[in-house]
C-alpha cells in the first residue's frame, strides 16, 4: 500500500546523509504522495503536488545544493532528547485521533457544513463542473488572492536575499582591491 511505501521513504530520508540522495528521495516522496492524493479523489491536489512538490521544489533544492555542496556531517549531540520529544508529540497526536470519526465515512462532520452547499449549488451559481475550481476561484477567491500575495512576497524576499548577497560580495571585493 502507498502509505507504507511513504513511511519507508520517510525513514530512508532520515537515515541517509548524502544530501543529493536526500533531495531525490524527497522527490520520490512527493510523487508517492501525489499518487496517494489521486487514490483519495483529490485529483487537482495531485496535479499540483506532482508539479510543485516533485518538480519545482526538487529543482530549487538542487540549485541550493549546487551552491552549497552536498555533504551533511554527523550530528554532534545525542539524538535522545529529540527522539523523546517526538515520541511524546506523536503519542499525544495518536491519543487525539482516538476521538476522530473513522476514515471515509459519509456521515463525518467535515462533510456537512459548506461542502454540501458547494456540491449542490455551485453548478447553478458558478457554472463550472469542477467544484474545486469554482470554490478556489469564486467562493474562496480572497484566499487565492492572499496566496498570490504570499508567493509574490516570497519571490521578492528570495531576490533581495540573493541579489543583496551578490552585491555585498562585490562591494567587499572592491574594498579589498581599493
Amino acid at each position: 500500500m502507498l502509505l507504507t511505501l511513504l513511511a519507508a521513504t520517510g525513514f530512508a530520508l532520515l537515515r541517509i546523509r548524502n544530501l543529493f540522495a536526500v533531495v531525490m528521495l524527497a522527490g520520490v516522496y512527493s510523487l508517492l504522495s501525489a499518487g496517494l492524493f489521486t487514490v483519495m479523489d483529490a485529483v487537482d491536489v495531485a496535479f499540483t503536488e506532482a508539479a510543485v512538490g516533485a518538480g519545482i521544489s526538487t529543482v530549487l533544492f538542487l540549485g541550493a545544493l549546487a551552491l552549497c555542496g552536498h555533504h551533511e556531517s554527523k550530528p554532534g549531540h545525542t539524538p535522545l532528547l529529540p527522539l523523546f520529544v517526538v515520541c511524546l508529540t506523536g503519542a499525544a497526536l495518536v491519543y487525539g485521533t482516538m476521538d476522530m470519526p473513522g476514515f471515509g465515512e459519509a456521515s463525518n462532520p467535515v462533510h456537512h457544513h459548506v461542502a454540501d452547499h458547494y456540491l449542490e449549488e455551485s453548478y447553478g451559481e458558478i457554472g463550472i463542473p469542477n467544484v474545486v475550481t469554482s470554490v478556489l476561484a469564486s467562493y474562496r477567491g480572497y484566499d487565492t488572492m492572499g496566496e498570490t500575495t504570499v508567493v509574490f512576497a516570497a519571490a521578492v524576499g528570495v531576490m533581495i536575499l540573493l541579489v543583496g548577497g551578490a552585491r555585498a560580495r562585490r562591494a567587499r571585493g572592491g574594498g579589498e582591491e581599493g
Binding site: 507504507t4 511513504l6 513511511a7 520517510g10 530520508l13 532520515l14 536526500v22 533531495v23 504522495s33 492524493f37 479523489d41 483529490a42 491536489v45 499540483t48 510543485v52 512538490g53 521544489s57 530549487l60 533544492f61 540549485g63 541550493a64 551552491l67 555542496g69 551533511e72 556531517s73 550530528p75 554532534g76 529529540p82 517526538v86 515520541c87 506523536g90 497526536l93 485521533t97 476522530m100 473513522g102 476514515f103 471515509g104 465515512e105 459519509a106 467535515v110 462533510h111 459548506v114 461542502a115 458547494y118 456540491l119 449542490e120 453548478y123 463542473p129 469542477n130 467544484v131 474545486v132 478556489l136 496566496e147 504570499v150 508567493v151 516570497a154 519571490a155 528570495v158 540573493l162 555585498a168
Partner: protein
C-alpha cells in the same frame, strides 16, 4: 474493536508517523538543508491528513456529472482539496525563502552545520565583526 480502530484510523496513524519523522529531522539534524527537507515532509503529511479527511468511501472526485443531478453519485469533499492547493503553493514559497537564506548563510559562514555556525558566532562576537 481494536482491529476496527486500526482499520479506520490506519491513515491517520501513518500520517502522524510521517509527521513525526519530519519533526525529528527538523529538530535533530544540524544541516540546514536537511532541516528544510524535514519541514517539507512535515508539510506533506499535514496535506495527507486533510485529504484523508475529505475522502468518502466509494466517492468520486468532486467534478460534477451533469450538474449534480444523480443522487447516487457520491462526491468526495472538495473543501479540503481547495485548502491544500493553497497550502502547497504557500509551502513552496516558504521552502524557496528558506533555501535562499541557507545559500546566504553558506556564503557568510562557509558552512551549513548549525553547531559550526554557533561556534563561529561565539568566536566572532568578541571581535565585533559585523554580519552581512
Amino acid at each position: 474493536m481494536t482491529l476496527d480502530l486500526l482499520l479506520t484510523h490506519y491513515n491517520y496513524w501513518v500520517v502522524i508517523f510521517l509527521m513525526m519523522v519530519g519533526f525529528y529531522i527538523l529538530i535533530s539534524r544540524g544541516n540546514l538543508i536537511k532541516k528544510i527537507v524535514g519541514l517539507n515532509v512535515f508539510q506533506t503529511s499535514v496535506f495527507m491528513l486533510y485529504i484523508s479527511l475529505g475522502k468518502i468511501t466509494e466517492g468520486t472526485p468532486p467534478i460534477l456529472v451533469d450538474g449534480y443531478g444523480d443522487a447516487d453519485v457520491v462526491y468526495s469533499n472538495p473543501l479540503p482539496h481547495v485548502l491544500i492547493l493553497t497550502a502547497i503553493v504557500v509551502g513552496i514559497a516558504t521552502t524557496s525563502v528558506g533555501l535562499a537564506l541557507a545559500v546566504r548563510i553558506k556564503e557568510a559562514y562557509g558552512t551549513l552545520e548549525e553547531d559550526e555556525i554557533t561556534g563561529i558566532e561565539a568566536g566572532i562576537e568578541p571581535a565585533g565583526e559585523a554580519g552581512g
